[in-house]
């Protein structure tokens, strides 16, 4: 029974861990689970959630993308620079966002071509493209500093009909993910990740599918960049660099297998949430500063083990 539920909803362990962490946060700092606290949590970690989703689509196919953080930085500076160039009005904001999505898509396609078409090792190839994308970002905006138009970040941080904007964004995201899960591409990516050889033999265009996975990854990384820009209201050519490995960690915490063929995007979203909640909890329980990194690392490890143990038990 339990096994069947878990096979149907592999993100359940991550959900449970996230809920437990949320409860612990509330226990140690009641205000962190107030409406404002939760809004803040969502505002801060929506970008990582989106980046974890981006990473999930390549991990599905057994690939990895170490350039997602650099894509976030690049889209962030392109967005801010274009909004400035085009005057900062409503139309220019939407035009810049469209350009940002295109940049994300282009980065994803480059990764896909390098990895799937040229057949370079994903881990090294995307590491190299990450350096390249960072270089482009530094060329677009050499030093952090350009502010985003007020209308842009006021919207991200604001509220409509008394409900914070980010909650609408989460709802929309849930809808998109629900629809995406029904796409044929998702199944194909999982099939490639499960066994690329047999996927190829059964007639699937493996190379094209992997490239599409990277393209999707680039698009979601661009969306993550929108959130970063909304929350930071400025351009910074190095802003996303450190997010890359957190996105990989979130995917694994969410129950996906890095070898491919298994996982859910919803799990990755909870994985991102787990990372955020652990960061806060480590502080709220009063860990001395010199131990915070260590405790944080241990907590992530424990969460990882808990998820994997449950998963392994049921998959047997």
């Amino acid at each position: 029974m339990m096994a069947r539920i878990l096979a149907r909803y592999p993100f359940l362990p991550a959900l449970v861990i996230a809920l437990v962490l949320l409860a612990l946060n509330g226990l140690y700092q009641p205000r962190s689970v107030s409406l404002i606290g939760l809004t803040g949590l969502t505002k801060t970690y929506l970008a990582l959630m989106l980046l974890a989703i981006a990473q999930t689509y390549v991990v599905y196919a057994g690939d990895i993308d170490l350039s997602v953080g650099a894509i976030v930085s690049l889209v962030n500076v392109v967005l801010v620079v274009l909004m400035e160039r085009w005057g900062g009005g409503g139309v220019s904001i939407f035009a810049a966002m469209a350009a940002g999505l295109l940049v994300g898509l282009a980065c994803g396609l480059i990764n896909g071509l390098v990895v799937a078409a040229l057949r370079l090792q994903a881990i090294v190839a995307t590491f190299a493209t990450s350096i390249f994308f960072t270089g482009v970002a530094l060329w677009v905006l050499p030093v952090a500093g350009l502010p985003a138009p007020t209308a842009f970040w006021r919207t991200y941080g604001g509220r409509f009909f008394e409900v914070p904007f980010v909650f609408y964004a989460v709802l929309l995201l849930a809808l998109v993910l629900y629809l995406m899960a029904r796409l044929r591409l998702t199944t194909q990516l999982l099939a490639v990740g499960d066994d690329a050889q047999s996927a190829f033999q059964s007639g699937l265009p493996v190379t094209a599918i992997r490239i599409k996975g990277y393209a999707l990854c680039g698009l979601f990384a661009a969306l993550a960049a929108f959130c970063i820009t909304g929350d930071t209201a400025s351009g910074d050519p190095l802003v996303g660099g450190k997010m890359t490995l957190f996105s990989v960690a979130a995917v694994v915490l969410g129950g996906a297998a890095l070898s491919g063929g298994f996982g859910t995007v919803v799990g990755s979203v909870f994985g991102a949430l787990i990372i955020g909640l652990i960061n806060s909890l480590v502080y709220f329980v009063g860990t001395p500063s010199e131990w915070q990194n260590l405790v944080q690392g241990l907590a992530i490890l424990i969460a990882l083990m808990a998820g994997i143990l449950v998963g392994r038990r049921t998959r047997r």
Partner: protein
């Protein structure tokens, strides 16, 4: 502020008599609010002796409101310190000195409680630090920021919640924050000025820089370029990035020595200086080259032992302690004699930059004597120094 009322509770305690007085002075409408908060705390605290806990919570909650009413004579401050990078001992020393500075306020009858968040985080992770502090209701936040611009919205939220925000070590663009620290451009210029003098204003020079695009690095680079521009016979033949990494600094210096055998001077920052000097010593050019140095004990010892021709701008780890002393005075409601309006963001208050060269090397040696090798030469604004800056 349009957000819910639970946010502005500072977590402080007061005497019971104060509490009763305060409770009576609160309008009945707000008492309902307090009762609700007590109920809320009660709901969220599980286990333990409930009655006792309820009583304690009621007390502390009312006390919290009372402090809001009596904040003029409260001399208890809670200050949050946020550090977003744990890659070097310098940062550890920075936090330790700030904690010591907080403890020193006790002699003045002021209780300064510091809470620290220090971990390797990305920018959103450090924004979360700030949000955690806002949730906790600190009086002031002192931050060594991972980005100059990314904190504008969250600092605006902190200010709305009545929190004083001070950045240190790296400037921030937010108009809601004050920068207390050194001017990185002047820091870079001081080293260049020393180097130009050491070379009698002529010769080929190379520069080894930190991380491209990092604001502090760009400001330092601007600083030395401006100085060298005044010396027509000094030629900067190459500038490389070694990412503030000692090993990369050593490697870069090796390459530069191989490419330009006639280098007379090296302008290099922080820990990379120790690496660069190692290459210079290995190449047997100790006597022929003048290069900037750094402030860790290991290097100062080497400096003395090998009689290096060096000079070091000091970015002291005590900057956060200085910022803390300034913060406490600001929380006491004092006003700066000269408002903090310096720098490119018009919100900076620059601290003096000490400089170590052969004239005062002995003094530096004395200060770091008996400390571990990674200990940095330091200086900070004492409470008295800081008071002198206020009206």
């Amino acid at each position: 502020m349009g957000e819910d009322k639970l946010t502005c509770l500072p977590g402080r305690r007061m005497l019971a008599s104060h509490v009763d007085m305060a409770y009576l002075e609160i309008p009945s409408q707000r008492r309902i609010e307090i009762d609700f908060i007590v109920w809320f705390h009660f709901r969220t605290n599980l286990g333990g002796s409930l009655v006792k806990k309820l009583a304690a919570l009621a007390m502390s909650t009312v006390a919290a409101i009372a402090v809001t009413a009596f904040s003029a004579n409260a001399e208890d401050f809670k200050i949050g310190l946020s550090n977003g990078w744990v890659g070097s001992e310098w940062r550890t020393q920075m936090i330790e000195e700030a904690q010591a500075a907080a403890a020193a306020w006790k002699d003045k009858g002021v209780n300064v409680e510091v809470v620290v968040q220090s971990a390797n985080v990305d920018v959103p992770g450090q924004i979360a630090h700030v949000r955690n502090f806002i949730n906790e209701g600190v009086d002031a936040i002192i931050i060594n920021p991972n980005s100059p611009t990314a904190f504008d919205p969250v600092f605006a939220q902190a200010k709305e919640a009545g929190i004083l925000v001070i950045s240190t070590d790296a400037e921030v663009s937010s108009p809601d924050a004050v920068y207390v620290g050194i001017d990185q451009k002047a820091w870079g210029a001081a080293g260049a000025e020393w180097l130009a003098k050491a070379l009698d204003g002529k010769g080929n020079v190379v520069a080894i820089n930190g991380v491209a695009g990092h604001p502090a690095n760009e400001m330092r680079v601007a600083g030395y370029r401006e100085v060298f521009a005044n010396y027509p016979d000094i030629k900067v033949v190459n500038e490389v990035n070694a990412n503030w990494d000692q090993a990369q600094g050593q490697q870069a210096m090796q390459n530069l020595l191989a490419t330009y055998p006639d280098i007379k001077g090296v302008w290099v920052q922080d820990g990379m200086a120790a690496g660069a000097w190692k290459s210079i010593i290995d190449a047997g050019k100790t006597g022929d080259i003048a290069a900037t140095g750094e402030i860790r004990k290991d290097f100062i010892d080497l400096w003395v032992k090998d009689k290096l021709n060096s000079g070091a701008s000091v970015n002291p780890p005590g900057v956060m302690a200085s910022a803390l002393n300034v913060a406490v005075l600001m929380l006491q409601g004092k006003e700066l004699k000269e408002p903090a309006t310096a720098g490119q963001y018009k919100n900076a208050m620059y601290l003096p930059i000490p400089f170590i060269d052969s004239s005062n090397l002995d003094e530096a040696v004395k200060q770091v004597e008996g400390k571990p090798g990674y200990y940095s030469y330091t200086s900070q604004l004492s409470i008295e120094d800081a008071e002198a800056l206020f009206k």
